[in-house]
Amino acid sequence: MVEPGSGAAIKAASARNADPEQRVLERIAEIRKRKPSLREDAITMSHGAGGKASHTLITALFGDILSNPVLDQLGDQAVLMLPGVDNVGLAVTTDSFVVSPLFFPGGDIGELAVNGTINDLAVGGATPLGLSAAFILEEGLDVATLRRVVESMRRAADRAGVNIVTGDTKVVPRGKADQLFITTTGVGVVALPQRLAMHRIVPGDVVVLSGAMGDHGSTVMLARGDVDLEADNLRSDTMPLHGLTAALLDAGIDVHFMRDATRGGVATVLNEIAQAAGVAVAIDEVSLPVHDEVRGVAEILGIDPLYIANEGKLVAVVAREHASRAVEVMRSRPEGAEAAVIGEVLADPEGMVFLHTGFGGTRVVDMLVGDPLPRIC
């Protein structure tokens, strides 16, 4: 008798069918390594969803035309050198916010606009210095609505200890925008040489997630009213993470890389890591923190929480021997109270992310295709 999963069974299976299948898989891997090309004639919603189409648009159009050594790194923030200074760089990042509805449980577009940009600086190890805010307003927008959003931005900025120091306003005719769009730009300082970089990720590293996945995306989806579901305890997780990142770095933890898991969710960040660092990432389903409400929404709608957006969670890749400390430091702070080790970095197969299912199987976790959740940030 041959036990399932025993060496004998597996060898037999490999001998019988692995070869042609393996060849096909290898060919696919080759094709995936090619530079993507933008084939569409028009922009579709998929290009904004943070998955494969977004990635293609950014690399094949923006990256291609605007290419320069700083942009080509495609980081969450760019680091500019100051003349005559070599131990500190200027970190710059920008982000636009077009969320609908403007207000949702746990936050609003203003708070997102502040926290999102702070987080893009924070995950690069930068200390935020100040923000700019640009507004596109639709003719007919209630001033009371605008006031409420701007007051929320003020509160968020105060909470984060960062000022909004400059801005811009444009008004467009009714119907040419949806109420209110905000673009924020953040400037910060980062110590050089940078401790955090994609190339520092090596096999053996451990992947830590700072808290539960999918709160923001599921909250906004329900708040849109497109689906007739209610979940009383569901709140957006929007929050600034620079305190958490500073705590990790100050504690001397050997963090190799961090990224906040926004559009496209944790799965997208892990795929970006696997592809850019040329490694594999294996995660363990049982260890993934997810709130019950999110699990419920995801289960009903057939969406995987791994792909749902967050606005206050980061993925940190840390040296194996510092993994426990990293989780400890995160859990000592409210932003990281539910932090957990979720997986590890492996040498191969390059560019792939795997999930060990709680059921005992293994599957691929690919980048998001299409657009399950429109306009969530």
Binding site: G7, I31, V364
Partner: protein
């Protein structure tokens, strides 16, 4: 019970996998899961990793999106482009390629295409937009047809006249029969569609056991349901039995849901024939609206091209749907045809065999084999993945324990 964890228990799964291995003996088994929902579950949970290598799951035709032929989609897109129309459909249909682009492309070109989660959402949109014509592109088997029927009955009762249904509802029995009749097919049994059976019951599958002498087990959608279904088929054959069994008793009644069947009969009638992607025309395999609902029938109200478009030559969706080819055996799989640039429908829906294999299955089996091999050959290996070693050589080491 919290969610469905009890149907996803890894220990029970391993035990069941071992029993299947013991009872399946040395012969090769081919079992087809008819329903796309099952295909999705199989890949999502990595169920094939728990089965012995001599038990093969063949992915069947029951993915509603996958069986829509290109011409029907072109008709839908033509309706979407007509002035004053709000076109509604389920999300995964939006990326299916027609002969000249998808609904997503139509949307980008200015058509008002909206994703809905239920036909009732379309009804709501119709009520909110009385000056617009709201078209619901209905797809699916007996599972989704009752909700379309109820929506139409409500629209009629409430006198809502601006809702139209473009009906592509299909029935599960005719394609199963077409597959059973196709030459060269070697299947040992079927995992029957759980959701469809909640409506039609389990008796309609008796022709499979009586005429074709293949056992059928109607199963649910949790991973343990599927493993148990596989086990039940192997048991039947080993014991020389051949019948329709119901594994999904917690949901499926043997007689189905008489009320839903009544609603279906009131709103729909059988089409004389309908084209299936990859399977060709199958007689009496789809539903259209009864004459009483003709004023809601988008095919009658709007002019549509109605042109039959041949499947792209390179596409072998038909062979995949019939279970003759494995997804990766298709000539264009993963190269010209990927989830972001699908050629065939099997690559679009997450329930499609190709998309499921591409998204979830790819690599996992081969790599899992390697992992278990490595641990089996290692002195302290016990088959649970506790392979040790160091540095870049290591594959799939155990995840470090959580802190706290």
């Amino acid at each position: 019970m919290k969610f469905a964890d009890e149907f996803r228990d890894a220990d029970i799964a391993r035990a069941l996998g071992a029993r299947i291995a013991a009872e399946s003996g040395d012969r090769h088994w081919k079992i087809m899961e008819v329903c796309g929902g099952h295909t999705h579950t199989i890949f999502k949970y990595g169920i094939e990793d728990l089965l012995p290598s001599n038990v093969e799951l063949v992915h069947g035709p029951g993915c509603p999106v996958c069986v829509i032929p290109m011409g029907r989609l072109d008709d839908g897109i033509a309706v979407a482009h007509q002035p004053g129309v709000i076109f509604t459909c389920f999300g995964d249909l939006m990326r299916v390629p027609g002969s000249e682009g998808s609904l997503l492309d139509a949307k980008a070109a200015g058509a008002d295409v909206r994703m809905v989660y239920s036909p009732l959402d379309a009804l709501k949109i119709a009520q909110q937009n009385p000056d617009r014509k709201v078209v619901f592109y209905a797809i699916g088997f007996e599972t989704t047809a009752p909700s379309t029927a109820l929506t139409l009955m409500r629209a009629k009762a409430e006198g809502i006249r601006n809702l139209f249904v473009f009906c592509n509802h299909v029935t599960i029995i005719p394609p199963m029969k077409a597959i059973l009749d196709s030459p060269g097919l070697q299947l040992d049994g079927f995992l029957g569609p759980g959701h469809v059976s909640t409506v039609v019951g389990i008796r309609p599958f008796e022709f499979v056991t009586n005429t074709y002498n293949k056992p059928v087990v109607v199963v649910g959608f949790e991973p343990l349901d599927i493993l148990q279904g596989v086990h039940m088929i192997i048991q039947q054959i080993n014991e020389g039995r051949c019948k329709v069994e119901n594994q999904y008793k917690r949901v499926v009644h043997d007689d189905g849901n008489p009320k839903a069947l009544e609603v279906l009969a009131r709103v729909f009638k059988l089409r004389s024939h309908f084209e299936w992607r990859g399977l060709g025309f199958i007689s009496q395999s789809a539903l259209e609206l009864q004459d009483e609902f003709a004023e809601y029938d988008a095919e009658k109200v709007f002019s549509v091209p109605g042109v039959r478009i041949a499947d792209p030559k390179a596409c072998q969706c038909g062979e995949v749907l019939k279970g003759v080819l494995k997804p990766w055996e298709c000539k264009v799989f993963g190269t010209a045809c990927t989830p972001e640039t699908p050629i065939g429908t099997c690559m679009v829906s997450s329930e499609g065999a190709c998309a499921a294999y591409y998204n979830f299955g790819r690599y996992s089996r081969a790599r899992e084999r390697e992992r278990v091999l490595a641990s089996a050959e290692h002195p302290d290996g016990n088959g649970n993945g506790n392979a040790s070693g160091n540095g870049a050589e290591r594959k799939f080491r155990p995840i470090p324990a959580q802190v706290g």
